[in-house]
């Protein structure tokens, strides 16, 4: 098993955001996470990653069988988990190349990936300073692939990206996920990314709880046609995901 989340509750500044969330991701599996704004999807990803201020009040998180809740973020990174930010910060004075070099010592891979994602000219720039929305997303995917994690957490990878770039990113991501044993948890609102990756499982999160599990394209069609309200009525509850 790549990831097991058991009865996870998370508070931010004393507010209960996630309540008893359970889910799992098998090795090699790609899971898509749907849910309305403010439902707790990003919170789940950040809690898995170990962001400061995301306090786990109940439950546990196991990555490849190792309990990771309570570990510092950089330790979780070492164990093979990686996050693609939805809104990455600007870091003045730190060049994209500096991080790339740290993430992967293979300079030729750094160069090839930068070229594939049209970032060669960005390597010597301060991270995200003056980057367009699409450039930021490409830079996030670039870093994630160089990091080479086993479990990828992608927070709306396609938001703010034009269709042409979604296709470039989708292909790069799909190629990566074809590698042995790579798994991913992907948040999407637009569903565009589903055209490029082979995801067989989708879940819906509403009000900090996991509701239904099913085929991602069907869930997405349901949400699009009937909205999240009807989606809650679905019998196929999160329980079956356990």
């Amino acid at each position: 098993m790549m990831l097991e989340v058991k009865d996870l509750s998370v508070d931010i500044s004393g507010q209960h955001i996630l309540q008893g969330v359970s889910m799992h991701i098998r090795k090699g599996e790609v899971v898509v996470l749907f849910g309305p704004n403010g439902s707790g999807k990003s919170t789940l990803l950040k809690a898995l990653m170990g962001f400061e201020g995301y306090s786990v009040t109940t439950g546990e998180i196991l990555l490849k069988g190792v309990k990771i809740d309570g570990l510092p973020m950089e330790e979780r990174v070492k164990l093979g988990i990686g996050l693609m930010y939805q809104h990455p910060p600007q870091v003045r004075g730190v060049k994209l190349a500096q991080i790339a070099g740290r993430l992967n010592a293979d300079a030729s891979l750094v160069g090839t990936m930068a070229e594939k994602l049209s970032l060669s000219a960005h390597l010597q720039r301060d991270i995200n300073m003056g980057f367009s929305g699409g450039e930021m997303k490409r830079s996030e995917l670039f870093q994630l692939i160089l990091q080479d994690p086993d479990l990828l957490l992608l927070d709306e990878p396609e938001s703010g990206v034009d269709l042409e770039n979604i296709s470039v990113m989708g292909r790069v991501l799909n190629d990566y996920l074809k590698n042995e044993g790579k798994s991913a948890l992907i948040i999407t609102h637009t569903g565009y990314i589903l055209d490029y990756i082979d995801a067989k499982k989708g879940c819906v999160m509403i009000d900090g709880r996991m509701w239904c599990v099913g085929r991602p394209k069907e869930i997405f069609e349901n949400i699009r046609n009937r909205g999240y309200d009807k989606c809650i009525g679905c019998d196929d509850r999160a329980k079956s995901a356990r």
Partner: protein
């Protein structure tokens, strides 16, 4: 004593201190060197055509033109200066010469309680170009020392001067450099100040008078302020001719000391442009940074602006780097080093690397 003897007599610790202010004793990639200890000349030598470098006394004695420069910028600025100086250097780059490697000069404070007072003249004649790296530093034995350095820069029409001053003092040394530059038509004057080591107090407010059309001046400073230090560092540019431009950039990091970052740009002619930028990072609880950007204009058709930002390192930035596998300490060090980016100094690659290495070794110890 011969020059070689004087060099060999330098104590190892002193040599290291002098090197830490940018002096390269091998002189492999230098166009000339000058070293003064307290008030005595250790050596002065030009290794390049078109470059003169000597003790100020010698220049004033034998060259009436040099004597004409002495005090001229102070007279032009309507300011007085201390005449009781002893020593200092005279550097002149002859008309049209472009000096490839940097010229190095160092004023070293050795004796306990010594009051070093120097007057330097730097002349870059028409169309000439030079990089000067000047280190001022103090021996471990030089406690309670005082350094007063007067410098006058003459950057003539079409000339280019990049002057980088590296200070490497001791905790109980007081430093007061006073300098005025005059910059002619189409000339460029870049003045860099790097101070990474502890010092008791530094007060400086160099001024550039841009009297020739299209003259440009940049003042850049990179300051690391240690606990107990007071660094009052400012610069002033007077835009006296049309289409002149000035930029004042300051990057200060307080490790517990106090930094006052002043900047003043005065538009005294039409169609001029000036920008001030001050960024400060305070790492511990008790450091302090005070930014005072000032702009004045006597005219409407000018473009003056400033930006200033002071604070701690953004938590989100640290977290972002941790998310890429850096430890919190590594993340902080990466951000701090990026903050003190020597790219702003406009240096040739070799010199840039030298300053970066100085920064790295100081930061490693300081953080």
């Amino acid at each position: 004593m011969t020059e070689q003897n004087r060099r060999d007599n330098l104590e190892e610790r002193d040599r290291e201190t002098i090197i830490s202010s940018g002096m390269d004793f091998s002189e492999k990639e230098r166009s000339g060197s000058f070293l003064q200890q307290d008030s005595g000349l250790m050596f002065a030598r030009s290794l390049s055509d078109g470059l003169e470098i000597m003790e100020i006394r010698e220049a004033l004695d034998r060259d009436p033109e040099a004597a004409g420069y002495f005090g001229a910028n102070f007279r032009a600025a309507g300011r007085d200066f201390d005449r009781e100086t002893e020593g200092g250097y005279f550097i002149r780059v002859k008309r049209g010469y472009s000096i490839e490697f940097p010229v190095q000069a160092c004023l070293f404070l050795k004796q306990r309680g010594f009051k070093q007072k120097v007057h330097n003249l730097i002349v870059v004649e028409e169309g000439a170009k030079a990089y000067i790296i000047t280190g001022c530093s103090a021996s471990h034995s030089a406690s309670e020392g005082i350094h007063l350095g007067i410098s006058e820069f003459f950057v003539h029409n079409g000339a280019y001067l990049n002057f980088t001053m590296v200070h490497s003092w001791q905790e109980d040394v007081s430093v007061k450099p006073v300098s005025i530059a005059s910059v002619g038509e189409d000339a460029v004057f870049i003045s860099n100040y790097v101070c990474l080591k502890p010092v008791r107090d530094v007060t400086m407010y160099p001024t550039a008078l841009l009297h020739g059309k299209k003259a440009r001046a940049s003042f850049n400073s990179i300051i690391l302020s240690h606990p107990g230090s007071l660094q009052d560092i400012g610069s002033r540019v007077v835009l006296q001719a049309e289409h002149t431009q000035a930029e004042i950039i300051s990057r200060a990091i307080s490790l517990g000391g106090k930094v006052i970052a002043r900047g003043n740009i005065k538009a005294a002619a039409r169609n001029v442009k000036g920008h001030l930028e001050c960024r400060g990072l305070i790492l511990p609880e008790q450091g302090s940074i005070y930014a005072i950007p000032e702009m004045e204009s006597d005219y409407r058709d000018v473009d003056l602006s400033h930006e200033a930002a002071i604070g701690r390192i953004n938590k989100d930035e640290i977290e972002y780097l941790r998310c890429r596998g850096f430890s919190p300490q590594e993340a902080q060090s990466l951000i701090v080093r990026g903050f003190m980016d020597v790219g702003v100094l406009g240096l040739p690659d070799k010199l840039k690397t030298e300053i970066e290495n100085l920064e790295n070794s100081t930061l490693k110890a300081g953080l």
